[in-house]
Symmetry: C3
Subunit: 153 residues, 3 copies
């Protein structure tokens, strides 16, 4: 069952890889923003004069809203994605129908990408919260399903 | 061995699901607290007038201790639970006796729930630290056991 | 294939365990630093008079740079290691050659240990960023490899 040639497991693997790449992208996006803003750094040593920072200033380690936004998005990923990676894996072991697994796993991926789009562009809380909630409910559904299966139901 | 009908693996799956649900609950508890406090938000757009926030004010994005407490509890989860999910899975592969696996995996769950109770109610550091340490030592024990097995001991 | 006697999987398990122990060590190192500094705490209740804190003061919950540095290092772990644990596991399922798996998985471990050494000792950003980037690129490589395999390529 844990085999990339198994359609349900491959569905999980694709969703998992997309979410891992999404999470890693937030780190690189933070780097891009810090370079673009020439600030938003966090360490005292980041204001030393170096080849990549020829004109350092103490202001560079002040919080920068454009950088902090990406960090908040990333923090939201950390609160959600590691648990999706584990729950999705265990969910595959319950032997779900392929179509249901695709709706849940790809639905989760889509909800997180829409959450990112809403957060990144500063949409009102209701939009962001809706996409987050969809993903969280999918995660809870899969986890409860595994729990019941493991308990013998 | 990776089968929900295997007693040791089912033990892991139950413990993992409980910890995933615990982690996800922290997000929802943060939401509940933000609604109850009508504050503790973090994004500039969260002070816009919307259906769910009819009377916005800049004070809503000031840190709110009752909300921040839940965020700190969640951060502690992020520092621990993803590693438990991975270590517990690998530990099952070492073929431990069922009773020992139950003590370790369920013991970890109990230690985290007690840690939550102590943190949530603001008990002194010694209480919180004791429960955290029990969980952390279980995690270290399982990880070292896997490491030795993988190295051939 | 998911067997600690399989050389490729054992390589993954060893790398995973080292990274889990590394992540857990950051928590304990934070504790050591807080004791050494007698400060850097984060909760209001941590300034109560207790057996381990006989002379409390409000200054104890002010940010302390020596403690915050460890917290930033740990945060960097949280942004990276859970995704490595998942990606590395899935990568094993693609059946890579042992030597390549060893270079990638142990290379990741070495990159993270060097990142820690650079961060801990406050080296300039370029040094820290180089080690972080090596690990991140290994993670991306493995994830893309799994994605392609799961898609049938």
């Amino acid at each position: 069952m844990i085999d990339l040639h198994n359609a349900v497991f491959a569905t999980y693997a694709i969703a998992a890889c997309l979410m891992i790449l999404k999470a890693v992208s937030m780190s690189w996006l933070t780097v891009v923003r810090m370079i673009g803003e020439n600030g938003g750094f966090r360490n005292p040593e980041d204001t030393k004069k170096t080849p990549m920072n020829p004109n350092p200033s103490p202001a560079q380690i002040q919080p920068n809203e454009r950088v902090e936004r990406i960090r908040r998005i990333q923090q939201n990923d950390l609160e959600n994605l590691p648990f999706f990676l584990a729950a999705g894996f265990l969910y595959v072991l319950t032997g779900p129908p392929l179509l249901l697994a695709q709706w849940l796993l790809y639905g989760y991926v889509v909800s997180r990408l829409l959450h990112f789009a809403a957060y990144f562009t500063g949409q009102i809380h209701e939009v962001r919260a809706t996409f987050w909630s969809i993903g969280s409910l999918i995660l809870i559904f899969m986890t409860v399903r595994v729990l019941l299966a493991a308990l013998g139901y």
